[in-house]
């Protein structure tokens, strides 16, 4: 089996798992309880929060633990929109966002918010001029992914933040799910940022929302005071421990991982480009962790299924959306409906060996031959 779907989920790191187990065994109290066990749990929660904040270079009070990136995106987008509704209801985003962002935007549209999508340049970056044109005094939010999950485009966050400086009412939310631990970016000018450690060898069921001090947002959940008023629920101490460990390892190893992944990506891109019917959709200067391609005339789903029969795991669009629709991200970048329907994604890890890349290439050659000569 060759797993090339690391952008969907990664295997949990042993150290993360031990941290989780150790904390889960050690603390029985609720961090909100006023007794010895509660205080012990609270102290540990604080220690973990401080550690996570330090790894990100932010303040501990700016960290909100969530159940995942989906909840973090929902909390930030809906929360800011609601808090700012007296000021404006205009939101800008991109066609590259994950469904946990677009889903929020569609829900807000139904509530009377106006959502506009920014156009892309040929390299997949948003057109800054278009951003400047579309920004208004009642624009309250710009939601952009740092790295998009389908193509791996890297967005110019510093430039976007600079443009937004002239719009004090407008917040910048960054979905950094495919960036943290992989692609560095400055936090300056970013109001909220979401990510989930299961994308870098942490555990599912946990996520982080960074919310800059002074940014107002209305929480999603009511009741049950917690470590922060922005997210209720008993603090998930063991998950927080797993998150802290995963993040620490990712920060420590980011450069080494990057070097390995760039090599694998380069080899794949080179080899796949030799096929006349292959179109590489991922931009050249995108994240090396993601390689999106289309084989002309073959539906992405069909290529993926056949690869699966050869023991290769890749994915079509983001995981588990079977609606027969082309990838909006690929469509927005390539402007070709049929190419978008043919697209699928390889996503890599430092765990991907060169031998696995070769095994994939052998299987790819067989699938290509079978599916393009029918």
């Amino acid at each position: 089996m060759v797993y090339l779907d690391y952008a969907a989920n990664t295997p949990v790191n042993e150290e993360v798992l031990s941290a989780f187990c150790q904390v889960a065994r050690q603390y029985q109290g609720n961090a909100n309880s006023r007794h010895e066990e509660g205080w012990a749990a609270k102290a540990e929660m604080e220690r973990l929060t401080v550690a996570v904040a330090a790894l990100l270079g932010v303040k501990p009070s700016e960290i909100i633990f969530t159940s995942g990136a989906t909840e973090a995106n929902n909390t930030a987008i809906k929360g800011i929109a609601k808090a700012m509704q007296g000021v404006g209801k205009h939101i800008l985003s991109t066609p590259l966002e994950h469904s946990s962002v677009t889903g929020c935007l569609q829900a807000l549209q139904k509530q009377g918010y106006e959502v506009e999508y920014l156009s892309l340049q040929a390299d997949g970056k948003i057109n800054l001029h278009d951003l400047e044109t579309k920004l208004r005094n009642d624009t309250v939010l710009v939601a952009v992914c740092a790295v998009d999950s389908e193509l791996g485009t890297i967005q110019p966050l510093a430039e976007i933040a600079a443009v937004l400086q002239n719009y004090p009412n407008c917040h910048l939310h960054v979905d950094a799910t495919q960036a943290v631990g992989k692609v560095a970016f400055p936090l300056q000018g970013i109001d909220t940022m979401s990510f989930a450690p299961h994308k870098f060898y942490g555990l599912c069921g946990s996520g982080i929302l960074f919310k800059r001090k002074n940014v107002e947002l209305v929480p999603l959940l009511e009741g049950g005071a917690s470590t922060t008023s922005y997210r209720s629920g008993t603090p998930a101490l063991a998950l927080a421990a797993g998150t802290e460990t995963a993040l620490r390892l990712a920060v420590e190893s980011r450069h080494n991982w990057w070097e390995i992944v760039v090599q694998r990506h380069t080899l794949l891109r080179q080899q796949l480009s030799h096929y006349p019917k292959v179109h590489i959709n991922s931009p050249i200067h995108g994240s090396p962790y993601i390689l999106n391609l289309s084989v002309a005339g073959v539906r992405g789903q069909n290529f993926q299924s056949l690869l699966n029969e050869f023991g290769i795991c890749v994915s079509v669009k983001s995981a588990c959306s079977s609606d027969g629709q082309p990838s909006q991200a690929v469509l927005a970048l390539t402007h070709d409906y049929w190419n978008a329907l043919s697209s699928w994604r390889l996503s890599l890890s430092h765990l991907t060996t060169e031998a696995q890349v070769q095994e994939f290439l052998v299987a790819f050659a067989k699938c290509y031959k079978k599916l393009t000569t029918q």
């Binding site: 539906r299 789903q301 069909n302 609606d323 027969g324 629709q325 409906y337």
Partner: protein
């Protein structure tokens, strides 16, 4: 075919099956610009199937998307889960609970396909809605009316479930398979390598997998239908039933009563929760009253007419005389007594191959 088809554009209802796939193919060959759509009618959770169970509807969508890709036609999935719940499933449940035998396929055609899909087609500036039904729509120049006819393949004819079509709907509806047999359709699919050429025909009611509608009703409503008495035609208790909704008029099997001779369900009293059983003769009736009637020509005839009638999907037509009652109902008198005519089911009237009218059986008189 139609008078003029100056603007040959169609929205095809694609289910992922052989029929709708060949429909798309044939229209394309006839020079139509086509778009395809699959209606998502229910979710697994709604019909009591685990979400992670590979849902037949997700697989169908995948098949339909595949055919659309192969034929190079634009394709989308339309979410009608809310409408389907309100207009089809809710009515299905209500009629069973009232003691009737519902026909949800007819409501689905009426509301989902020929109303909702037509709205979508219009929004996309497409002039026709096309489906893979085995029936024909023709234009009668003399009368200046559209007529609905049976499909050529008698064993597949679906005109029975299409009686609700209005003149306006027929003007923009296409049934390209009406002139073909199922065998021919399968051959066409195979020749063109459509993935689903050998897929089985859909069976039962799509949202009641396995066909156990009693179980479906209980899971859907959360109710437990109380046990009660089986009565014979004289009102004597002859056994225990497992909830009156579970029995259908004419049913003989799985009654669990032994009277030394075959007995059939011949009536239900939902208020008293009793199910009446009797011999074959007690199933017979000669007269029915139908409501929610559609006269395909647009209005009822002014006097009684001789017709041929079906009270079930796959039934040989029976000679009868129809007495219109206004435009919306009629009384039908059969030449010979009919077996197991069930309230809630559709009655469809024919003259030769032509569908004259149809409606819902409201009352059965002996």
């Amino acid at each position: 075919m139609r008078e003029s088809m100056s603007d040959k554009t169609a929205l095809i209802a694609m289910s992922g099956g052989v029929d709708s796939s060949v429909t798309a193919l044939l229209l394309q060959e006839q020079g139509f610009t086509c778009e395809g759509a699959t209606m998502r009618l229910y979710r697994n959770e709604d019909i009591g199937v685990c979400q992670y169970h590979t849902c037949c509807s997700a697989r169908d969508i995948d098949d339909a998307a595949d055919v659309a890709f192969k034929l190079h036609i634009l394709y989308k999935v339309l979410d009608y889960t809310a409408a389907f719940k309100n207009e089809v499933i809710a009515k299905f449940v209500r009629i069973y609970e009232q003691g009737g035998t519902p026909n949800p396929c007819i409501d689905c055609n009426r509301f989902m396909k020929f109303r909702n899909l037509w709205e979508v087609a219009q929004k996309s500036q497409l002039n026709y809605v096309a489906t893979g039904h085995y029936a024909r729509i023709e234009f009668d120049r003399e009368q200046g009316l559209y007529v609905l006819k049976k499909g050529i393949d008698a064993s597949k004819d679906q005109s029975y479930v299409l009686y609700m079509l209005t003149q306006e709907q027929m003007a923009h509806t296409l049934f390209p398979l009406g002139g073909l047999t199922k065998k021919e359709v399968r051959e066409i699919a195979a020749q063109h390598g459509l993935v689903n050429a050998h897929k089985h025909d859909s069976q039962d009611i799509c949202f009641v997998p396995g066909g156990d509608y009693g179980k479906f009703l209980e899971e859907y409503t959360g109710k437990t239908y109380a046990k009660g008495d089986f009565l014979d035609i004289h009102g004597k208790i002859v056994g225990q039933h497992k909830g009156a909704v579970r029995y259908t008029i004419g049913q003989r099997k799985k009654l669990g009563i032994a009277l030394g001779k075959p007995v059939y369900v011949c009536g239900k009293d939902m208020v008293k929760n009793t199910v009446r059983v009797g011999d074959e003769e007690s199933l017979l009736s000669e007269v029915l009253v139908a409501t929610e009637v559609n006269w395909l020509a647009g209005k009822a005839p002014t006097r009684a007419e001789e017709v041929w009638a079906r009270t079930r999907y796959k039934q040989q037509e029976q000679a009868a005389v129809v007495y219109p009652i206004g435009n919306d109902s009629f009384r039908l008198e059969f030449a010979k007594p009919q077996r197991a005519v069930a309230p809630g089911q559709a009655v469809v009237l024919y003259r030769g191959d032509v569908v004259v009218a149809g409606g819902t059986i409201a009352q059965v008189l002996r």
